[in-house]
Symmetry: C2
Subunit: 183 residues, 2 copies
Protein backbone atom coordinates (compact mmCIF):
# COMPACT_ATOMS: atom_id res chain seq x y z
CA UNK A 1 0.00 0.00 0.00
CA UNK A 2 2.40 2.61 1.28
CA UNK A 3 4.81 3.92 -1.28
CA UNK A 4 8.19 2.23 -1.20
CA UNK A 5 11.27 4.16 -0.34
CA UNK A 6 13.49 3.77 -3.39
CA UNK A 7 16.41 5.51 -1.66
CA UNK A 8 17.19 2.31 0.20
CA UNK A 9 17.48 0.31 -2.99
CA UNK A 10 19.61 2.87 -4.78
CA UNK A 11 22.09 2.89 -1.95
CA UNK A 12 22.11 -0.89 -1.71
CA UNK A 13 22.52 -1.15 -5.47
CA UNK A 14 25.55 1.08 -5.46
CA UNK A 15 27.08 -0.62 -2.42
CA UNK A 16 26.62 -3.97 -4.10
CA UNK A 17 29.17 -2.89 -6.67
CA UNK A 18 31.71 -1.33 -4.33
CA UNK A 19 32.10 -0.05 -0.78
CA UNK A 20 31.24 3.62 -0.54
CA UNK A 21 30.72 6.51 1.85
CA UNK A 22 27.66 8.75 1.82
CA UNK A 23 29.61 11.37 -0.02
CA UNK A 24 30.75 8.86 -2.63
CA UNK A 25 27.20 7.65 -3.14
CA UNK A 26 26.12 11.17 -3.98
CA UNK A 27 28.96 11.51 -6.47
CA UNK A 28 28.14 8.22 -8.16
CA UNK A 29 24.53 9.27 -8.54
CA UNK A 30 25.49 12.63 -9.98
CA UNK A 31 27.41 11.07 -12.84
CA UNK A 32 25.01 8.30 -13.72
CA UNK A 33 21.64 7.89 -12.09
CA UNK A 34 20.52 11.45 -11.51
CA UNK A 35 18.71 11.65 -14.85
CA UNK A 36 16.32 8.90 -13.79
CA UNK A 37 16.30 9.27 -10.04
CA UNK A 38 18.12 11.95 -8.11
CA UNK A 39 18.95 11.90 -4.39
CA UNK A 40 20.08 14.61 -1.97
CA UNK A 41 22.32 14.36 1.10
CA UNK A 42 19.23 14.94 3.19
CA UNK A 43 17.98 11.57 1.97
CA UNK A 44 21.27 9.68 1.80
CA UNK A 45 22.62 10.13 5.31
CA UNK A 46 19.44 9.31 7.24
CA UNK A 47 18.80 6.30 4.99
CA UNK A 48 22.34 5.05 5.53
CA UNK A 49 21.72 5.26 9.25
CA UNK A 50 18.51 3.30 8.95
CA UNK A 51 20.02 0.64 6.68
CA UNK A 52 22.76 0.14 9.24
CA UNK A 53 20.25 -0.25 12.08
CA UNK A 54 18.30 -2.79 10.05
CA UNK A 55 21.40 -4.81 9.23
CA UNK A 56 21.30 -4.29 5.48
CA UNK A 57 24.73 -2.69 5.48
CA UNK A 58 27.88 -2.76 7.64
CA UNK A 59 30.34 -0.08 8.58
CA UNK A 60 33.65 -0.93 6.95
CA UNK A 61 36.05 1.69 8.11
CA UNK A 62 36.31 5.15 9.47
CA UNK A 63 39.35 6.87 8.03
CA UNK A 64 40.70 10.27 8.76
CA UNK A 65 43.59 10.89 6.41
CA UNK A 66 43.08 14.52 5.66
CA UNK A 67 40.13 16.66 6.55
CA UNK A 68 36.93 15.22 7.99
CA UNK A 69 36.49 11.59 8.83
CA UNK A 70 35.16 9.30 6.19
CA UNK A 71 32.78 6.43 6.89
CA UNK A 72 32.70 3.63 4.37
CA UNK A 73 29.87 1.10 4.16
CA UNK A 74 29.46 -2.33 2.59
CA UNK A 75 26.35 -4.33 1.80
CA UNK A 76 25.45 -7.37 3.94
CA UNK A 77 24.02 -10.68 2.78
CA UNK A 78 20.66 -9.57 4.14
CA UNK A 79 20.98 -6.39 2.10
CA UNK A 80 21.74 -8.31 -1.07
CA UNK A 81 18.68 -10.48 -0.64
CA UNK A 82 16.56 -7.43 0.00
CA UNK A 83 17.90 -5.77 -3.15
CA UNK A 84 17.41 -8.81 -5.37
CA UNK A 85 13.87 -9.25 -4.15
CA UNK A 86 13.07 -5.68 -5.19
CA UNK A 87 14.74 -6.14 -8.57
CA UNK A 88 12.45 -9.06 -9.30
CA UNK A 89 9.24 -7.20 -8.52
CA UNK A 90 7.50 -5.42 -11.35
CA UNK A 91 8.05 -1.69 -11.57
CA UNK A 92 5.79 1.22 -10.94
CA UNK A 93 4.99 3.39 -13.94
CA UNK A 94 7.31 6.19 -14.92
CA UNK A 95 6.47 9.62 -13.69
CA UNK A 96 7.28 12.66 -15.72
CA UNK A 97 6.83 16.16 -14.39
CA UNK A 98 7.37 18.83 -16.95
CA UNK A 99 6.79 22.44 -16.04
CA UNK A 100 7.42 23.37 -19.65
CA UNK A 101 4.56 21.19 -20.87
CA UNK A 102 2.34 22.46 -18.10
CA UNK A 103 2.89 26.05 -19.18
CA UNK A 104 2.44 25.14 -22.81
CA UNK A 105 -0.93 23.71 -21.97
CA UNK A 106 -2.14 27.09 -20.74
CA UNK A 107 -0.25 29.20 -23.25
CA UNK A 108 -3.24 30.60 -25.09
CA UNK A 109 -2.95 33.42 -22.54
CA UNK A 110 0.42 34.62 -23.82
CA UNK A 111 1.97 35.67 -27.14
CA UNK A 112 2.76 32.96 -29.61
CA UNK A 113 6.29 34.30 -29.99
CA UNK A 114 6.91 33.84 -26.29
CA UNK A 115 5.81 30.24 -26.57
CA UNK A 116 8.13 29.60 -29.50
CA UNK A 117 10.93 31.14 -27.52
CA UNK A 118 10.27 28.87 -24.57
CA UNK A 119 10.23 25.81 -26.82
CA UNK A 120 13.53 26.87 -28.26
CA UNK A 121 15.01 27.15 -24.80
CA UNK A 122 13.78 23.63 -24.10
CA UNK A 123 15.35 22.39 -27.34
CA UNK A 124 18.73 23.88 -26.46
CA UNK A 125 18.70 22.25 -23.03
CA UNK A 126 17.78 18.93 -24.61
CA UNK A 127 20.63 19.25 -27.09
CA UNK A 128 23.11 19.81 -24.31
CA UNK A 129 21.88 16.81 -22.41
CA UNK A 130 21.98 14.71 -25.57
CA UNK A 131 25.63 15.57 -26.02
CA UNK A 132 26.31 14.57 -22.47
CA UNK A 133 24.72 11.18 -23.05
CA UNK A 134 26.68 10.74 -26.28
CA UNK A 135 29.93 11.38 -24.47
CA UNK A 136 29.01 8.73 -21.91
CA UNK A 137 28.12 6.35 -24.69
CA UNK A 138 31.52 6.76 -26.34
CA UNK A 139 33.28 6.02 -23.09
CA UNK A 140 31.18 2.95 -22.49
CA UNK A 141 31.42 1.41 -25.95
CA UNK A 142 35.19 1.70 -25.68
CA UNK A 143 35.18 -0.17 -22.38
CA UNK A 144 32.54 -2.72 -23.34
CA UNK A 145 34.39 -4.33 -26.26
CA UNK A 146 35.76 -7.17 -24.22
CA UNK A 147 33.60 -6.81 -21.15
CA UNK A 148 29.88 -7.03 -20.59
CA UNK A 149 29.77 -5.56 -17.11
CA UNK A 150 28.51 -2.19 -18.18
CA UNK A 151 25.68 -3.33 -20.42
CA UNK A 152 22.99 -2.00 -18.09
CA UNK A 153 24.70 1.30 -17.62
CA UNK A 154 24.95 1.49 -21.39
CA UNK A 155 21.24 0.79 -21.82
CA UNK A 156 20.34 3.58 -19.43
CA UNK A 157 22.50 5.99 -21.41
CA UNK A 158 20.83 4.77 -24.60
CA UNK A 159 17.49 5.56 -23.00
CA UNK A 160 18.65 9.07 -22.22
CA UNK A 161 19.77 9.58 -25.79
CA UNK A 162 16.46 8.40 -27.24
CA UNK A 163 14.56 10.57 -24.80
CA UNK A 164 16.50 13.68 -25.76
CA UNK A 165 16.05 12.88 -29.42
CA UNK A 166 12.29 12.71 -28.89
CA UNK A 167 12.39 16.07 -27.06
CA UNK A 168 14.32 17.70 -29.90
CA UNK A 169 12.05 16.21 -32.58
CA UNK A 170 9.02 17.45 -30.78
CA UNK A 171 10.50 20.94 -30.35
CA UNK A 172 11.09 21.22 -34.07
CA UNK A 173 7.66 20.00 -35.04
CA UNK A 174 5.95 22.16 -32.44
CA UNK A 175 7.82 25.24 -33.58
CA UNK A 176 6.85 24.56 -37.16
CA UNK A 177 3.19 24.12 -36.31
CA UNK A 178 3.10 27.34 -34.31
CA UNK A 179 5.01 29.32 -36.92
CA UNK A 180 2.78 28.32 -39.81
CA UNK A 181 -0.42 29.30 -38.10
CA UNK A 182 -1.73 32.79 -38.15
CA UNK A 183 -2.12 34.07 -34.62
Amino acid sequence: MARENRTKYIILGLLNHEDLSGYDIKKRIDVSLKHFWDLSYGQIYPTLKQLLEDGYIHKVEVTKEAGPERITYSISEKGKLYLVQWLKESSEEDKLRSEMLLKLFFSSLIEREDVIHAINEFAVKSHNKAQLFSAFEDQLTAVMKDNDDHVYYYLSVLFGKKLMKAYIDWSEEATEILSNKKS
Copy 2:
Protein backbone atom coordinates in the same frame (compact mmCIF):
# COMPACT_ATOMS: atom_id res chain seq x y z
CA MET B 1 14.51 29.86 -3.50
CA ALA B 2 11.66 27.78 -2.17
CA ARG B 3 10.07 25.50 -4.67
CA GLU B 4 6.94 26.90 -6.26
CA ASN B 5 3.64 25.27 -5.74
CA ARG B 6 2.49 24.38 -9.24
CA THR B 7 -0.90 23.20 -8.01
CA LYS B 8 -2.05 26.82 -7.80
CA TYR B 9 -1.19 27.48 -11.41
CA ILE B 10 -2.79 24.31 -12.71
CA ILE B 11 -6.06 25.16 -10.98
CA LEU B 12 -5.93 28.76 -12.18
CA GLY B 13 -5.11 27.61 -15.69
CA LEU B 14 -8.11 25.33 -15.81
CA LEU B 15 -10.42 27.92 -14.25
CA ASN B 16 -9.26 30.44 -16.80
CA HIS B 17 -10.93 28.34 -19.45
CA GLU B 18 -14.18 27.59 -17.62
CA ASP B 19 -15.75 27.66 -14.17
CA LEU B 20 -15.22 24.40 -12.34
CA SER B 21 -15.63 22.62 -9.01
CA GLY B 22 -12.84 20.73 -7.27
CA TYR B 23 -14.26 17.48 -8.51
CA ASP B 24 -14.39 18.80 -12.09
CA ILE B 25 -10.80 19.96 -11.87
CA LYS B 26 -9.70 16.46 -10.97
CA LYS B 27 -11.64 15.05 -13.90
CA ARG B 28 -10.14 17.53 -16.35
CA ILE B 29 -6.66 16.65 -15.16
CA ASP B 30 -7.33 12.94 -15.50
CA VAL B 31 -8.17 13.22 -19.17
CA SER B 32 -5.46 15.63 -20.21
CA LEU B 33 -2.73 16.82 -17.88
CA LYS B 34 -2.06 13.80 -15.73
CA HIS B 35 0.68 12.50 -18.01
CA PHE B 36 2.78 15.59 -17.35
CA TRP B 37 1.61 16.64 -13.93
CA ASP B 38 -0.87 14.76 -11.82
CA LEU B 39 -2.82 16.10 -8.84
CA SER B 40 -4.79 14.41 -6.08
CA TYR B 41 -7.87 15.62 -4.18
CA GLY B 42 -5.63 16.04 -1.18
CA GLN B 43 -3.88 18.81 -3.08
CA ILE B 44 -6.82 20.29 -4.95
CA TYR B 45 -9.24 21.07 -2.13
CA PRO B 46 -6.78 22.74 0.24
CA THR B 47 -5.30 24.77 -2.64
CA LEU B 48 -8.75 25.88 -3.72
CA LYS B 49 -9.33 27.10 -0.18
CA GLN B 50 -6.10 29.01 -0.18
CA LEU B 51 -6.66 30.56 -3.61
CA LEU B 52 -10.05 31.78 -2.41
CA GLU B 53 -8.53 33.34 0.72
CA ASP B 54 -5.89 35.08 -1.38
CA GLY B 55 -8.46 36.45 -3.81
CA TYR B 56 -7.22 34.60 -6.87
CA ILE B 57 -10.57 32.89 -7.34
CA HIS B 58 -14.22 33.52 -6.46
CA LYS B 59 -17.01 31.24 -5.41
CA VAL B 60 -19.58 31.21 -8.20
CA GLU B 61 -22.38 29.05 -6.98
CA VAL B 62 -23.25 26.31 -4.62
CA THR B 63 -25.77 24.00 -6.19
CA LYS B 64 -27.48 21.01 -4.77
CA GLU B 65 -29.50 19.41 -7.50
CA ALA B 66 -28.99 15.79 -6.75
CA GLY B 67 -26.64 14.32 -4.22
CA PRO B 68 -24.02 16.38 -2.43
CA GLU B 69 -23.62 20.12 -2.86
CA ARG B 70 -21.37 21.35 -5.58
CA ILE B 71 -19.16 24.41 -5.28
CA THR B 72 -18.12 26.09 -8.50
CA TYR B 73 -15.23 28.56 -8.72
CA SER B 74 -14.16 31.19 -11.23
CA ILE B 75 -10.85 32.98 -11.69
CA SER B 76 -10.50 36.63 -10.63
CA GLU B 77 -8.58 39.37 -12.44
CA LYS B 78 -5.89 39.06 -9.79
CA GLY B 79 -5.74 35.35 -10.48
CA LYS B 80 -5.35 35.91 -14.22
CA LEU B 81 -2.46 38.28 -13.68
CA TYR B 82 -0.82 35.81 -11.35
CA LEU B 83 -1.19 33.04 -13.90
CA VAL B 84 0.14 35.07 -16.83
CA GLN B 85 3.14 36.15 -14.79
CA TRP B 86 4.02 32.51 -14.16
CA LEU B 87 3.52 31.58 -17.80
CA LYS B 88 6.10 34.17 -18.81
CA GLU B 89 8.79 32.93 -16.43
CA SER B 90 11.23 30.36 -17.72
CA SER B 91 10.55 26.78 -16.71
CA GLU B 92 12.32 24.45 -14.38
CA GLU B 93 13.89 21.39 -15.96
CA ASP B 94 11.83 18.28 -16.52
CA LYS B 95 12.04 15.60 -13.94
CA LEU B 96 11.70 11.98 -14.85
CA ARG B 97 11.51 9.27 -12.26
CA SER B 98 11.62 5.80 -13.67
CA GLU B 99 11.69 2.82 -11.38
CA MET B 100 12.14 0.58 -14.40
CA LEU B 101 15.37 2.32 -15.38
CA LEU B 102 16.53 2.30 -11.80
CA LYS B 103 16.12 -1.46 -11.59
CA LEU B 104 17.72 -1.92 -14.97
CA PHE B 105 20.77 -0.10 -13.71
CA PHE B 106 21.31 -2.71 -11.01
CA SER B 107 20.16 -5.71 -13.02
CA SER B 108 23.49 -7.50 -13.18
CA LEU B 109 22.25 -9.19 -10.01
CA ILE B 110 19.38 -10.99 -11.74
CA GLU B 111 18.89 -13.26 -14.74
CA ARG B 112 19.07 -11.70 -18.16
CA GLU B 113 15.77 -13.33 -19.09
CA ASP B 114 14.04 -11.57 -16.23
CA VAL B 115 15.40 -8.26 -17.45
CA ILE B 116 14.17 -8.88 -20.97
CA HIS B 117 10.80 -9.77 -19.54
CA ALA B 118 10.64 -6.52 -17.58
CA ILE B 119 11.56 -4.50 -20.66
CA ASN B 120 8.81 -6.22 -22.57
CA GLU B 121 6.31 -5.30 -19.89
CA PHE B 122 7.49 -1.71 -20.18
CA ALA B 123 7.07 -1.84 -23.97
CA VAL B 124 3.51 -3.11 -23.70
CA LYS B 125 2.57 -0.33 -21.29
CA SER B 126 4.14 2.22 -23.62
CA HIS B 127 2.20 0.83 -26.55
CA ASN B 128 -1.05 1.18 -24.67
CA LYS B 129 -0.30 4.75 -23.74
CA ALA B 130 0.72 5.53 -27.31
CA GLN B 131 -2.67 4.32 -28.52
CA LEU B 132 -4.35 6.52 -25.98
CA PHE B 133 -2.45 9.56 -27.23
CA SER B 134 -3.28 8.66 -30.83
CA ALA B 135 -6.97 8.53 -30.02
CA PHE B 136 -6.72 11.99 -28.46
CA GLU B 137 -4.87 13.22 -31.51
CA ASP B 138 -7.60 12.02 -33.85
CA GLN B 139 -10.26 13.79 -31.83
CA LEU B 140 -8.27 17.00 -31.78
CA THR B 141 -7.32 17.14 -35.45
CA ALA B 142 -11.00 16.74 -36.27
CA VAL B 143 -11.91 19.68 -34.06
CA MET B 144 -8.95 21.86 -35.02
CA LYS B 145 -9.72 22.16 -38.73
CA ASP B 146 -11.47 25.46 -38.38
CA ASN B 147 -10.40 26.38 -34.91
CA ASP B 148 -6.99 27.02 -33.37
CA ASP B 149 -8.08 26.94 -29.74
CA HIS B 150 -6.76 23.50 -29.06
CA VAL B 151 -3.31 23.91 -30.56
CA TYR B 152 -1.55 23.71 -27.20
CA TYR B 153 -3.52 20.71 -26.12
CA TYR B 154 -2.61 19.14 -29.42
CA LEU B 155 1.08 19.87 -28.90
CA SER B 156 1.02 18.22 -25.50
CA VAL B 157 -0.54 15.13 -27.02
CA LEU B 158 2.09 15.17 -29.75
CA PHE B 159 4.71 15.25 -27.02
CA GLY B 160 3.17 12.20 -25.40
CA LYS B 161 3.19 10.34 -28.69
CA LYS B 162 6.84 11.11 -29.37
CA LEU B 163 7.75 10.10 -25.85
CA MET B 164 6.02 6.74 -26.16
CA LYS B 165 7.65 6.17 -29.52
CA ALA B 166 11.05 6.75 -27.94
CA TYR B 167 10.19 4.31 -25.14
CA ILE B 168 9.14 1.64 -27.63
CA ASP B 169 12.22 2.16 -29.82
CA TRP B 170 14.46 1.86 -26.82
CA SER B 171 12.70 -1.31 -25.63
CA GLU B 172 13.29 -2.97 -28.97
CA GLU B 173 16.92 -2.00 -29.20
CA ALA B 174 17.59 -2.94 -25.60
CA THR B 175 15.99 -6.34 -26.05
CA GLU B 176 18.05 -6.97 -29.13
CA ILE B 177 21.29 -6.02 -27.42
CA LEU B 178 20.55 -8.26 -24.45
CA SER B 179 19.43 -11.19 -26.60
CA ASN B 180 22.50 -11.16 -28.82
CA LYS B 181 24.98 -11.29 -26.00
CA LYS B 182 26.07 -14.47 -24.38
CA SER B 183 25.24 -14.36 -20.71
